[in-house]
Assembly symmetry: none
Homo-oligomer: 242 residues x 4
């Protein structure tokens, strides 16, 4: 070791200076993170309210009634994502540095919004539509594709329960429609070459949703409860669901 | 559910289109990640070679001899970080998206380079000097502060062993110098308001290094082996080590 | 310890020589393993494509259409197993040394190929037929019996879902046929004296497939949906299914 | 499903025939495995006896006395490995199929035999010497390199305890010798490019043995207990340990 007194004392002073700088930078990023987490907590709170609204569809409450309250939460979230975008504007190029602090909440939000959309429209809410609903702008603060896809997987997990409750309430045509949708969705995911990660695992769970819905459809069909004349059209070779 | 045949078939087609786009984007980021990981593996391999060189200081081999071989690896790493920066240039603003794929290797590299520097100069290699050695440019592809600090904690873990082996080889002044350095370093880290994370945990480990070095210094002093006249100057209130 | 300077220095040199030799041998087997894993990854990728094709039978797509695409993948796999055999030819007698690197992929491949065969022929694809389809030669690079049997267990897991979806689509004779096949298959496995291992566990799962198919057959029979005259012949004492 | 009565009955019979064949083959390999395990259990039992003998060196019993009893076990093991080789001769090319059934026991045996050799000779027992001692023939039933290396890592784990007890018993030159040996051994292992597996993990543990021995050597040196004049020669630049 070549150090002598002079070196060490020089080192000591430049060390202090450097750590003083670090202190500032770590405080800055710590504060930023605190702000982000505060907003993420509000997003989480809003998704919980929205979830409570959506649960009513399992009690066969009319969709328009359910939707009205749920949509109000989308507006709340839009405001919150606006605040997130603003906070991130302070540190350009660091979206992915703090991404972990809002991604779980966002995945849940996507699943709710996509489920509501499906209830209303019967089709998949695409990525650009979610961004629009939440006021997100891909060029600045966009919605990560994997977060969107994980959210869609979570939405799929809601469908078996929905089908069971709809059949209970006397809607015997519901399993056919859900099955058609879920079959298409599952096939679309299979296009993706998912690597071995969290998304792949979530997608693997979708097949259990599919099977459960198939089982419900089976129950309805075998008892002759399904509306007449749907069997050939439902799962025809070209996915035209009549 | 408001879906009728038209919606569903519309959805099916727009679904396919969307997932086709995702396929491309996921492939792109997957390929990028593969490239990054390949370079990170080469960095890891280079740190292992450098580690082998540095281990020789524990056998009391002369520092210049050890340094020559070790420095050659810094040049290798510089080339590799250049390639990383080039790969990341393809996707501006996504440094932190892929950060997890090179950070462990980088922390190890920092620990080696800082240990070598300390062996040669007796003081702390500061952040800007590491960037310079590795050809990193903060405005483009810089060295994350936390990675730097974690690397420094790893370097600290090497010091007790070094002191023990130096004393064994008859260098009784080494504990004093190392203790002065480690005391300053520990004090500098204490300035930082570390939150509850990986870095805090690594820093908490540094106190064991400090204690072990204190014990060795104690052993040397109590046996009258330390060079005469060093006692007051070593740990004075202003960290001036004379 | 009897070591003196001479011994130790002798040892040091013979140590180096020995480890130099090990380096070569470990590199060799490491490279071989890398080659094997690369081919195994391609086999896995091919089974995923084949799986996507086969999933269409659950949507009641005509078997010949499904089979055409799926069979193309068997040809792909045949090529890949040819490459595996060639790689293993470099190291005679070491099939089982590297077996762990392709066995999972092979078990999945077997399950697909046997399922396709069953869809086309209604009977079990025997071990020698799989070897033939994949161009394997038992005297050189054959198909491990346990891998074959585990693959068949995996195939069995597909059958309940297939039956459910066939009944939904109006094929009320399917449960009887599947039940006859699965009953025979289960009985055949019971001949084997399986020890406490992975295969035994997989086989234990087959009974759930059997029960589910029995339940579907029961549903069909109790509702008078099964074709007339099939009841006695189905599960006769000698497994003659008339 | 194209199956009709004929197919199914044909299938049933060819199924039975196939599974009858499997029964025989699985019994055969099951019996072979039982025989192997019985011998492996005897090897394990012999290593336990040998371990008991070797433990006496920690009580500073004279090495020749310890060695005599321990060597008797090597003869026992030689006989057992001869029986293993004979069993494996029944199934050429399947060494690695059953390797898992004797490898743990073999690794332990290697560690004992190499420790005894080191006690007697002060240097590393090389791979070919172990094979010779155990009557193994690489062309037929040899000693896997990784098993040898793992056994050597286990042997290294014995050394810190040995050094501590030798120093306690008054042999102050022991730490120097062990440290020289372990430093060379550690350096030799580092030549190998170990991948991320069991062996790598075991080797990573060797550094703790090394550090512990360094600490003991330090204790001896700092107290002036080490024989005079050994410091420069021990860890000189060319690993000549005088």
């Amino acid at each position: 070791m070549a150090a002598d007194a002079g070196d060490s004392s020089f080192s000591s002073s430049s060390m202090e200076k450097q750590f003083g700088g670090f202190l500032q930078q770590l405080e800055q990023s710590g504060n930023l993170r605190d702000k982000i987490r505060a907003v993420a907590a509000e997003i989480e709170s809003s998704t919980r309210v929205m979830h409570s609204c959506l649960l009513l569809v399992h009690e066969s409450r009319p969709i328009p009634e359910v939707a009205a309250k749920a949509e109000a939460q989308i507006e709340v979230m839009k405001g919150l994502y606006g605040r997130l975008a603003e906070i991130l504007r302070e540190c350009p190029g660091q979206y992915y540095r703090y991404h972990g602090d809002w991604r779980t909440e966002t995945q849940t939000a996507i699943s709710m919004i996509a489920f509501l959309h499906w209830l209303q429209m019967g089709n998949l809410l695409v990525h650009s539509e979610v961004e629009q609903k939440l006021g997100l702008d891909s060029s600045e603060f966009g919605l990560d594709i994997e977060d969107y896809l994980i959210g869609i997987c979570f939405m799929s997990n809601e469908l078996p329960r929905y089908v069971v409750n709809q059949v209970t309430a006397g809607d015997y045509d519901c399993p056919r429609k859900v099955l058609a949708f879920l079959t298409d969705l599952h096939a679309s995911f299979r296009i993706l070459n998912l690597r071995n990660d969290f998304l792949r695992k979530k997608f693997d769970g979708m097949k259990y949703d599919l099977r459960r819905v198939e089982e419900v459809y089976y129950d309805v069909k075998i008892r002759g409860l399904a509306p007449i004349g749907d069997s050939t059209a439902t799962k025809g070779p070209k996915h035209k669901h009549g």
